[in-house]
Symmetry: C2
Subunit: 613 residues, 2 copies
């Protein structure tokens, strides 16, 4: 069926959303050991000058600088150029672009590639290249220093402000340190418990780390489909998603111009970009899974690795033997990659070429330091199918593959479900940790019920918060359009904010030393009726302010000691404030009189209060 | 500060939203023992005629009947009239309405009361009246029969369709039966583990039951404030909230015309109505907490009990001795009732009159069968204050009061927090069960982080799903406007749908025998590409359909075997369907050849698959 959608555009991207998030500014800071580094944070100043500004993690890149000057054709600054150059990788010509890379699109519908010029590199055989290889060799890379400081500055602030308020939490055996050192990052990567996705050809990347002992990360999916969406929209979605807090972005494009759209995305992305190479490989064989083979897949891996993709979803865990286990499911196989591979395996009654060539895949990915995101092709697509034999059989295979990839020097994370009722979520985490040697877990939701299409950011936000608490390192967002259509700009924002909530709730529950600072600052602002601070400290200041404006639009209401919910007479916080001085005076009196009062207190039968004189 | 809001209207309610929810119809059914009863359900027919329609719980009242004929001035049919009349309660004249009942509003701003005439009743001393008293006496009331059947018919359907798919779950010591009998409802009420809120003067009520061993319920708050909103809006909010699944509604009005607005709400409400009488009492003393006393409070209890309010939030657990425990909190006391009582106690350094008159309060509420919702006046208003000494001291007091209320024949549920990080949620449930003798828990959220005003339906939906799973019987919704403003119609709907998600996710995780039927039906429809069925089975068919229309608006797409997310070539479900027959044939062949193949299998080293011939 051929769909002509009027929205399909062939224009190259012209502009994207820029400028600071309301009430904050981008700041850069450097670790003492590397004064040349410019590690980004977002700083929220408070209206009470006696209070220190709050610094928060900021994956949004240069786009949120004040007066940001962005030229999409040039791409972002290549901040990793010197680090990578110093490692001595060989320059390569690069694979020539073929017509099928862009879906054999006709000239009048071809999106021009991003013209930004970059030197392409590939490591030689035996030449150390991945962050995992450096980590195992005891070498701390610049990327590790940068990522540690990034996790850390917020934490320094936390430690400063946390006097008397130690974080509590339940971390289920994780080992979150009080303070992140570069050495700690190196150690976690060497143990396989963290990855630092950073293709040597993605020079624009602001390095970040994904692991159970770091802040919980969020991924946003973008990408066109055969039905809708073009290049400019996808680059804007990238910028828009990271603006609101996406830590990585997956480009799941399956429509035309895949190669060229990806060039725009990568040259302009400050965050790691992930892809699912099998999608493009399938496009190259006219959408027929049975025509797939190792050669076309290998060619696609190299194509995308050269472009700078930071992690690949590889569905090598879908083995022939697993396919029949899905036969009695309510929703069969719901992963696109999984269904493609299942079809391929079953049609020829043969083992997956991804599984059989897994070593070769590792060797290609290692040369560019493309990290594995081992795909869960058999994830459950409904509550009924959660935690079934097919799902867990694949997970065991992913565990085997993890060890192979490590042996070949690659970084690995593991994808997880899907649709899982609450009581079955923890089992997913426990089995993943055991089967995959504590490699980082990266889950889609999970959705905790199937009955709310249109609200699956919420059904899945519940599961995401829980599995993040249990130890999942990165949460793949779900938008309100899940199961129904492609997300638009508003849906992307709603999905990202929902998942930032889930990730933060998880950090709080794990007892992350830095997490509670922002909650406390916002709640203190709320209690002090500093409305502007309350808006600015929130995940989405624009929406918070707009909602307040709906009932109390005037500026004077932004300093009012009440709100529209209760009105002035009924404001509990106002009443409590009136109360507070009185209570504190009582407390103080009680403390001072403690010794002499204690005998009296006991004589009166232990009543906490004695009548006033 | 006097705020004149142009939105304030004095018009009486004229009309409300009526008609069936898209794709479904209201049906009534009767238990065999009571053929005259008309117990409501919502029935969703499926496009595949071979599949039985799905019946779901329906709190929306006659408004969602096809061709509903509603006259707000007459109120809803008095379906309990005969049951109540047969119990022989004395008719009463009723307390005369006083000007202060409506906030001394001037004549030109007075909302006329609902003109529907009802016979008012009150039980005599020693005359059995509450559902708790009947239950303890071994008597099964009509309300119990009705509520049991209501919980049950969905479960009968579940049992029919559940062959081979037994529900699993973790219920943390609850005792959910395979099938709910009237006797089971009676027993749960007698044990204090459930309440059936049903004022004898709320004859329009469709009885329902709240308890850990029943479906998790959802409450929606409505109500005007001094700042905004009038009568017509509140009645529409009631109808709108129940349309989308609110099981009870609390009228938290604090503005003008409280008494008369309440008359419109009660006469037109099919669901239990809760209030917080201290709000109106405070209005009667010009908003000055220090002028409150037992007399004005008692007068308000009688006023509202006569009107038919089904449950009262009573903040009798805020004792003088608890107040100093809040002094070092980040957000002090955030419950309006709690802050009012704290102010009252502290100003005169005296014990709460609600605590001291608790027995008198019980005696008044018993006479009309108004249930207690023991208020958590010291609930935490921020992550920092969760599970602190003040909160748990009050909870212990609520436990004492529960036993007093039971001794005096009253039904009791217990309110809970608030703002609680995930790792501290379960402790709330465990302590509540222990302290309050398993009386039903009724929580607001809890919100799992403070940093997302504008999205607090989501921050709290996470906590609500979890605490519902742990055993909370009813979840009080939070709307996107929480902390920012009064919810409008869209906010109310979003809040209710979010909480229906939380409640359903909890039912699934508890292993409720009926819960999974709807998930399975929707997922099966999804897998079969029955798009209309998928929309109609969802919690919000209108939104699901609208989202699908955004990318694929044509009717033909509603039967298409793909969607806009992947397009036709990439649809995993389509690929899986193509696969399924093949897989099943293989399975069958495997089964038949099992015996003869097993030796061969082992000889080949246990590989699950042998190459095809």
């Amino acid at each position: 069926m051929n769909i002509q959608n009027p929205k399909t555009k062939i224009a190259a991207p012209q502009s994207v959303t820029t400028g600071p998030i309301a009430g904050s500014r981008k700041v850069y800071a450097a670790p003492a050991s590397h004064p040349e580094m410019r590690v980004p944070f977002r700083e929220i100043a408070l209206s009470d000058a006696s209070l220190a500004p709050i610094r928060v993690y900021d994956p949004s890149g240069p786009y949120t600088e004040d007066g940001a000057s962005i030229d999409l054709k040039q791409g972002l600054p290549t901040l990793r150029e010197d680090w990578i150059a110093a490692r001595g990788f060989g320059a390569i010509e690069g694979r020539a672009v073929k017509p099928e890379d862009n879906g054999n699109v006709s000239a009048d519908r071809l999106v021009a590639p991003c013209p930004a010029e970059r030197k392409l590199r590939r490591s030689a055989d035996g030449q150390r290249v991945t962050q995992y290889e450096f980590a195992k060799a005891g070498i701390v890379t610049e990327e590790m220093v940068y990522a540690a400081f990034r996790e850390n500055l917020a934490r320094e602030k936390a430690l400063e402000g946390a006097a008397g308020r130690r974080a509590d939490g339940e971390d289920f055996g994780a080992a979150i340190p009080e303070f992140v050192t570069p050495e700690f990052v190196r150690d976690e990567i060497a143990l396989g418990r963290a990855i630092l996705p950073a293709n040597i050809n993605h020079l624009e990347l602001e390095p970040m780390v994904i692991g159970r002992n770091f802040l919980v990360k969020v991924n946003a999916n973008i990408g066109n489909s055969a039905v809708t969406s073009g290049a400019a929209e996808e680059v804007e979605k990238l910028v828009w998603a990271t603006r609101w807090g996406a830590d990585t972005v997956m480009d799941l494009s399956t429509g035309r111009n895949i190669h060229n759209i990806r060039s725009w995305i990568l040259r302009n992305s400050p965050v790691p970009i992930g892809t699912v190479p099998i999608y493009q490989a399938l496009e190259k064989v006219d959408g027929d899974p049975l025509k797939l083979d190792w050669e076309v897949f290998k060619d696609t891996l190299i194509e995308q690795a050269e472009q700078g993709v930071d992690y690949f979803t590889i569905h090598a865990g879908v083995r022939l033997a697993h396919v029949p286990l899905t036969a009695s499911r309510v929703t069969g196989i719901v992963s696109r990659g999984g269904s493609i591979m299942a079809r391929w395996c079953l049609a020829g009654h043969r083992e997956s070429f991804l599984y059989e060539h897994f070593g070769d895949i590792c060797d290609i990915m290692r040369r560019y330091d493309v990290s594995f995101s081992l795909g869960d092709g058999l994830r459950p697509g409904s509550i009924a199918d959660a935690n079934d034999a097919a799902q867990f059989a694949e997970l065991e295979t992913l565990g085997e593959l993890t060890k192979i990839a490590w042996d070949r020097g690659c970084q690995v994370m593991i994808e997880g479900p899907g649709h899982v009722p609450m009581h079955k979520i923890k089992q997913n985490m426990d089995k993943q940790l055991a089967a995959c040697g504590e490699a980082p877990f990266y889950t889609l939701g999970p959705l905790t019920t199937d009955i709310a299409p249109g609200y699956d950011h919420i059904t899945s936000g519940i599961g995401a918060a829980m599995i993040g608490w249990f130890g999942t390192a990165m949460l793949c967002y779900v938008t309100p359009k899940e199961h129904l259509g492609l997300p638009n700009r508003d849906d992307v924002k709603t999905g990202v904010i929902t998942y930032r909530i889930a990730a933060h709730a998880a950090d709080l529950a794990k007892g992350h030393p830095a997490a509670k600072v922002r909650d406390d600052a916002l709640s203190q602002a709320r209690f002090d009726f500093r409305w502007e601070d309350q808006f600015n400290l929130s995940l989405d200041p624009d929406t918070a302010r707009a909602y307040h404006d709906e009932t109390l639009p005037k500026d004077v209401h932004k300093v009012a000691h009440f709100c529209s919910m209760c009105g002035p007479k009924f404001c509990s916080m106002k009443i409590t404030q009136d109360l507070r001085d009185e209570v504190r005076a009582m407390e103080e009196a009680a403390r001072q009189g403690m010794a002499e009062k204690s005998r009296e207190f006991l004589e009166q039968g232990g009543a906490l209060y004695v009548p006033a004189e």
